[in-house]
């Protein structure tokens, strides 16, 4: 048994390829049972987002055969010859597969490091597989662990803490000036697409009042209706400047639309309460000299881009810390997985020995003549005792292997035990029921 992860992502495959292999959520209930036939793959789920298509599975047989079966499934289902995408595929087994899944769910493998959506997508993929009945004990355990690790990464590192787009960076900065947006007024100068985007951001953060000032009054009114804002005629901009706590300027104009003297005057009127000025127009339409005014914070598009860049760098640094958390979690998970594997082996081994002992007892029983219940009890006790003493060193060793963190459980070792003691075969016996099988 192995955990296998086969897939491609934004680093290995261009979007044209990714979209050809993608699966929609609606497809999953029909697709998953085809992928997980129970013969080669025992359990499986499919993560399909715009940046990745990945199959996470528990193999029953040889890993290479399992990989071939996943490829065959993708090719057949998507009618895409394997040669078209083989170069983009990666495969991870066991420890590396677990690590990759942990990294994906934590946003470390994302295009924008630390983006939060991927966790939800992993959750959905898992839920779909649960509904389709293609997850078993191992994937259940793995996915629960994955969600836990991703949550830990999110709370213990600042990987998703800072804004990585211009509009969210602007909102983030605004929050460092005004704690609570409910009492703040935003004024838009220019009502282009950029401004619209920014307003959406601000509205979702609960901004108090919105003023829209645009050269074409129709557009201003249209937006005003949509965002329950107040339209201000372009000619009256100056009178309304003092009302704004956040001023967002995105107009195309050859000269400065917002001049220093206008803002200086507005600041007097608003008694020098802080003013956040964002100029996302290129060329700039807010006089850069305004930056010298006290309690005015002017950011142009370059400043915001700089913020985004440094936030991305910060995320990279946090990602290094996240890798440490993931490392720990992978080791821990592999350990718990081994005990999951070793449990049935130990049980099978004990049952086998008991079967043999009780089988022999049964065979020779008649020749012993009539036994008193007392005598029978003593013999059974003796059989159990022999089995236990015989099994004890081997079982202890198995537990040691399961607890140790040296290497993964060797499949060859497993195969050896199965073969040496014919663990799969049935033997006629009067072995007592399971009561003590979990004793050790």
């Amino acid at each position: 048994m192995s955990i296998l992860l086969v897939g491609l992502n934004h680093k290995t495959a261009p979007v044209e390829l990714r979209e050809q292999l993608a699966f929609s959520e609606a497809e999953l209930p029909t697709v998953l049972p085809l992928l997980v036939d129970g013969d080669i793959l025992a359990e499986g789920l499919l993560i399909s987002t715009c940046n990745r298509v990945e199959v996470v599975a528990v193999t029953r047989s040889d890993v290479n055969r399992a990989v071939e079966s996943v490829k065959a499934f993708l090719s057949n289902y998507r009618r895409l010859p394997i040669t078209e995408y083989a170069h983009a595929l990666y495969r991870y087994v066991d420890r590396e597969a677990v690590r990759h899944l942990f990294r994906v769910a934590s946003g470390l493998d994302s295009l924008v490091v630390g983006e939060p959506q991927i966790l939800g997508q992993v959750k959905e993929a898992y839920a779909a597989a649960v509904r389709a009945g293609t997850v078993g004990p191992i994937l259940t355990r793995l996915l629960q662990r994955t969600l836990h690790v991703a949550k830990r990464v999110r709370t213990e590192t600042a990987i998703g803490a800072s804004a990585v787009s211009v509009s969210s960076a602007a909102v983030e900065l605004a929050k460092k000036i005004f704690e609570d947006f409910r009492n703040t007024t935003v004024m838009l100068i220019g009502a282009g697409e950029m401004a619209e985007l920014a307003v959406q951001h601000l509205v979702s953060d609960g901004v108090g009042q919105i003023l829209i000032c645009n050269r074409t009054p129709e557009r201003a009114r249209e937006l005003a209706v949509r965002f329950q804002a107040e339209a201000v005629p372009f000619e009256e901009m100056t009178q309304h400047l003092a009302r704004a706590d956040i001023l967002l300027c995105s107009v195309a104009a050859p000269e400065y639309v917002v001049r220093r003297d206008q803002i200086a005057q507005a600041m007097d009127v608003r008694r020098h309460r802080p003013l956040f000025l964002i100029d996302i127009s290129v060329p700039r339409t807010v006089d850069p000299q305004i930056q010298d005014l006290e309690n005015v914070f002017l950011y142009d598009i370059d400043d915001l881009n700089q913020v985004v860049r440094s936030n991305l760098e910060r995320r990279e640094r946090e990602a290094a810390r996240a890798e440490v958390i993931i490392d720990e979690a992978v080791t821990e998970f592999m350990k718990s997985l081994r005990s999951l594997e070793v449990g049935p082996l130990i049980a099978a081994f004990r049952h086998r020995l008991q079967d043999i002992a009780y089988g022999e007892f049964q065979r020779h029983r008649r020749r012993l003549g009539a036994l008193t219940p007392e005598q029978e009890k003593v013999i059974k006790h003796m059989l159990d005792s022999i089995v236990n003493k015989f099994a004890h060193p081997a079982i202890t060793k198995f537990h040691q292997i399961a607890r140790g963190d040296s290497s993964d459980l060797d499949p060859a070792l497993l195969a050896f035990w199965h073969e040496a003691f014919r663990l799969g075969e049935k033997v006629e016996s009067t072995r007592p029921p399971e009561k003590d099988s979990t004793e050790l």
């Binding site: 709370t155 213990e156 000036i177 020098h272 802080p274 400043d303 700089q306």
Partner: protein, 269 residues
């Protein structure tokens, strides 16, 4: 008894270090532990003050040791009454170092102080504890206002420079800093006014001539005038942001300097 104050110091120190670790490393584990350790320190601190009061039969505010231990206590009480509910754990990183410093001063400084006999009457007046409490909490409030104003200036500078480090992420927004400092400013000023009022009554009942020219009176009046000016500019002239913060910090500096001066040369505190 003698181990209570160092005990409180150590517990506060541990609480602070752990809190700093939680805040700086963004850990959430056992966040209550830091508060628990600090609370334990506070119990030891309070027990010490109560013990001293019982032994001497008066409010603990005469020796250098008592003054600093009481001030540290007032700052902690004020902080937890007014600020702990807001999301300003980071404020503790600024408040507790001063508390630690005060306790250290308290531990190493003198335990006795020869008192002029004119004070004997005063110490027996029932209104004295009230006056002392007003003054202690006024200073505590001014200290918090000073901390918040400093945070404002640091955050403002970061926003102007447009380079954001760990400090920027850590500090609250400008509006929060401003709200914290102006609230504490007003509270402190009200307490100071009440403190001066009760002080005047006390002095008139004891021996007015004895007090003539005592630094403590100059301190009180100077502090009151300074904060009156700060409040005037803030509320009446509408000074906001940077200038208001600078003014507040200057006000606190004047208070701190005169406080030490009064402490060295005055009859009481």
């Amino acid at each position: 008894m003698s181990t209570l104050l160092p005990g409180a110091l150590i517990l506060y120190g541990l609480g602070l270090v752990y809190e700093a670790f939680l805040i700086l490393r963004r850990r959430r584990m056992l966040a209550a532990l830091a508060l628990g350790v600090i609370a334990l320190g506070f119990v030891a601190h309070t027990a010490w003050l109560v013990g001293v009061s019982f032994r001497s039969g008066r409010f603990p505010f005469l020796t250098t040791q008592e003054v600093f231990a009481s001030l540290a206590w007032a700052i902690i009480v004020y902080y937890f009454l007014l600020h702990a509910r807001r999301q300003t754990e980071v404020l503790r990183l600024f408040v507790f170092p001063l508390v630690l410093l005060f306790l250290m001063v308290a531990i190493v400084s003198s335990r006795t102080r020869p008192l002029p006999e004119q004070l004997e009457d005063l110490l027996r007046m029932p209104a004295l504890p009230l006056h002392v409490a007003f003054m202690m909490f006024a200073y505590a409030a001014f200290f918090l206002a000073f901390v918040a104003a400093t945070m404002y200036l640091v955050q403002e500078r970061e926003l102007k420079r447009k380079r954001f480090g760990a400090v920027f992420q850590l500090l609250p927004s400008l509006s929060t800093c401003e709200a914290l400092s102006s609230r504490s400013l007003v509270v402190g000023f009200l307490l100071l006014t009440l403190g001066i009022g009760t002080g005047v009554i006390l002095i008139r009942r004891s021996d007015p001539i004895f007090w003539r020219g005592d630094p403590i009176i100059i301190l009180a009046i100077l502090t009151w005038v300074v904060y009156l000016i700060v409040i005037h500019y803030r509320l009446m002239a509408g000074w906001r942001g940077r200038k208001a913060a600078i003014l507040l910090i200057l006000g606190f500096a004047v208070t701190a300097v005169t406080f030490l001066w009064a402490r060295l040369f005055g009859h009481i505190i």
